[in-house]
Subunit: 417 residues, 2 copies
């Protein structure tokens, strides 16, 4: 209860800061971001020391490999973070953008204008650079932000959040517009999700347990959850192209949500395609799991279990299934996909058109890698996350997706008949 | 539990129908709507008989006045309903609309295309025409719909839902795309809100108890809740215009969410403005409640209590407060408004600009009545509701607001670096 009271008091200050920040000019916000970039660079040693404390704790707890790497900040990564802040400062401000404007027959002039959403809470995991990356995107879009990072990065996150607050203070912006919650207790999430009057939106970036913890959230969610992405190599595919696309979709960064987990191959090209792709992927360290027909073609491949078709590996593992038709591929994707990113490789425009129309995913690719599902790759100038929501924003998000709108209506005394 | 099993089984058929309906052509959907309009007209006697059963029950339970009127369907209202269906058929289909299209430097062609949301549940109250009005708007936008009307209109709603289902069947559209829940038990709402895999969105139209029943919904909401709308008559207002606007905002239809509940008047014009407005409103049957300064100007007016400033009367009642400045008006609206529709009456462009910028409401008016917050009045060609949400859709909704989008990406073998 003490925790709830404390959080609600801080949220009340955050709400007030959100109202002020929403009215700040682009120049004001950019000045604060420039100051933050400067102070990140100047504080490199301090950031590394704070990060060292997290790393020591993580190593003592047995963390190794990719996870430890994600947690680590080096001078180069800190410089990249500062540059990232400057890049966000250089982006156009979405606030105030006129989305549409029209006049009604009665003379009313209606404008639909972008405004900030308000107070947005981000719940994220071990990568400490999210504190700065997400923080500045939200500030640039005029939103106050509640940052609740993972317990592994507590010291680093606290240090970075302190730099943001100080930069806001030094540039006379409302310092309470960034609220860092330095408490790994799950109770924090329970408090946040129960107070829609204090928090307008929660952006959760995490796995199943976070999803479950937020299932009954009274605050709207813009989740970034799982990605079970498919590539379907059609009978009319250019197989050399298919090989490049599949290798890229699986191997270029297997730990992210837009990498391929299931590969579907049309039976007419399976015998030609699967052996050469398998050899290439295995050279790249990928473990393959196959349906019975795949295993008949490449007998050394381990059979896939039922669970494999619904697994988000986020790792160098791929399940392969031979299908007899586009219809079978579509049905498979409808059943096993997570509606984030799916691709067809084909030279047949009709197959491509059906795939685009019938696959109900945020991003549907023809002859390209699913790895392009990303704000930068879409040209949004920023990556504010990849929404697995159907509403408000779907797929790659830019700054605009962190705003809502209001209608301004100008009249000269009109009344409704 | 039996109820839950039954609802989930029906929802599973609705989900399958949603996937089919999403791929139906505009012509297919319009043919079904034309058939529905025809069958509504042909079934006028049947609809009136079903409605008679509801009216008899309601009158036996003591219902009178406006409520009873809302429940009543006459031949004229049924004809209006059929015409409404034809008007929706004539509207442009939002599905397939290309919202944006661009090319990336690597040659990828990206299109953002409107698609239906999926399965949308509407929970509404006594007006039975919502069954048809909302049903056809959702069908036109390619969504399957779960209709859960109020207990007062059960017989009428069931009859009308039967007409929709029959029209879908006769035109070979998936009949399960409309699921009518003929059960007034609140348990129905508990089942719907717990199954985000089965229902993509709930649109609740109702009052406080419905809001509370849905507070922990696992399904996203697009609520249509309260409207506490303000009009601020500035010191620089044209008082004759202000009188027309205030009279319209209060009296033209007091039972709806965009009618005025609180009037703020600048002290510099209060003595000239309040007496003449009060006389006019009182002639129109409005009960006035005033702050102490208002009561000093028009002593017969009853003092407002604290609760009055936060009350959504939805009735011929108005609270009036005298303020000393625009700042005081803005602070009052921020505190007591429901962020739906607020208006300023002023001839001062600077006051108007500050009001527009600082009032954080879905619709902000300068010199016009808040009663224009409505899909038809905005020119959307339809009224699919007025969202009190900040996300996805805010304020008056048209067909577009009942859709989401997906990105289609065309390549020629691009892979991500």
């Amino acid at each position: 209860m003490a925790l709830e009271t404390e959080i609600l008091e801080r949220l009340s200050a955050t709400r007030a800061a959100a109202a002020q920040l929403a009215l700040c000019s682009t120049a004001d916000k950019n000045r604060a971001l420039a100051e933050l970039a400067r102070s990140i660079r100047q504080s490199t040693a301090g950031i590394i020391a704070a990060n060292r404390a997290d790393l020591d704790r993580a190593q003592a707890a047995g963390m190794t490999g990719a996870l430890l790497d994600r947690l680590t900040l080096t001078a180069d990564r800190i410089e990249a973070m500062a540059r990232g802040v400057e890049e966000v400062a250089a982006l156009p401000d979405p606030v105030g953008e006129v989305i549409a404007r029209w006049q009604r027959p009665n003379g009313l002039e209606i404008s639909q204008v972008r405004v900030p959403i308000g107070v947005i809470a981000i719940i994220y995991e071990s990568r400490p650079n999210v504190t700065v990356d997400a923080g500045v995107l939200l500030l640039k879009s005029g939103n106050a932000v509640v940052l609740r990072g993972g317990k592994e990065a507590l010291s680093t996150n606290a240090f970075l959040a302190g730099l943001i607050t100080a930069a806001l203070e030094r540039t006379a912006l409302p310092a309470s517009a960034v609220m860092f919650v330095n408490n790994p207790d799950r109770e924090v999430i329970r408090v946040l999700k129960r107070h829609p009057e204090a928090v307008d939106l929660i952006i959760p970036r995490g796995g199943k347990s976070l999803k479950e913890a937020l299932a009954d959230s009274a605050v709207p969610l813009l989740p970034h959850f799982d990605g079970i992405c498919h590539t379907y190599v059609d009978r009319a595919a250019d197989l050399a192209m298919a090989e490049e696309i599949c290798t890229n979709a699986k191997c270029s960064r297997p730990s992210v949500c837009n990498s391929m987990e299931n590969l579907l191959v049309h039976a007419a090209v399976a015998e030609r395609f699967i052996p050469r792709l398998a050899a290439r992927l295995e050279r790249a360290g990928v473990e393959l799991r196959g349906c019975p027909r795949t295993c008949a073609i490449v007998p050394h491949v381990k059979p896939a279990s039922d669970a494999d078709w619904d697994a988000e590996y986020l790792d160098l593992i791929l399940s392969i299934k031979v299908v007899d038709s586009l219809d079978e591929a579509l049905a498979f994707i409808a059943r096993h996909g997570s509606k984030l990113a799916d691709a067809i490789v084909t030279g047949d425009p009709q197959a491509a058109a059906r795939f685009e129309r019938e696959v109900d995913s945020a991003t549907v690719y023809v002859n390209a890698s699913t790895r392009f599902t990303d704000g930068f790759e879409f040209g949004f100038g920023a990556e504010t996350g990849i929404s697995t929501n159907r509403l408000h924003a779907r797929g790659p998000m830019g700054l605009r997706e962190l705003t809502t709108y209001k209608y301004l209506i100008h009249g000269c005394g009109q009344v409704r008949k």
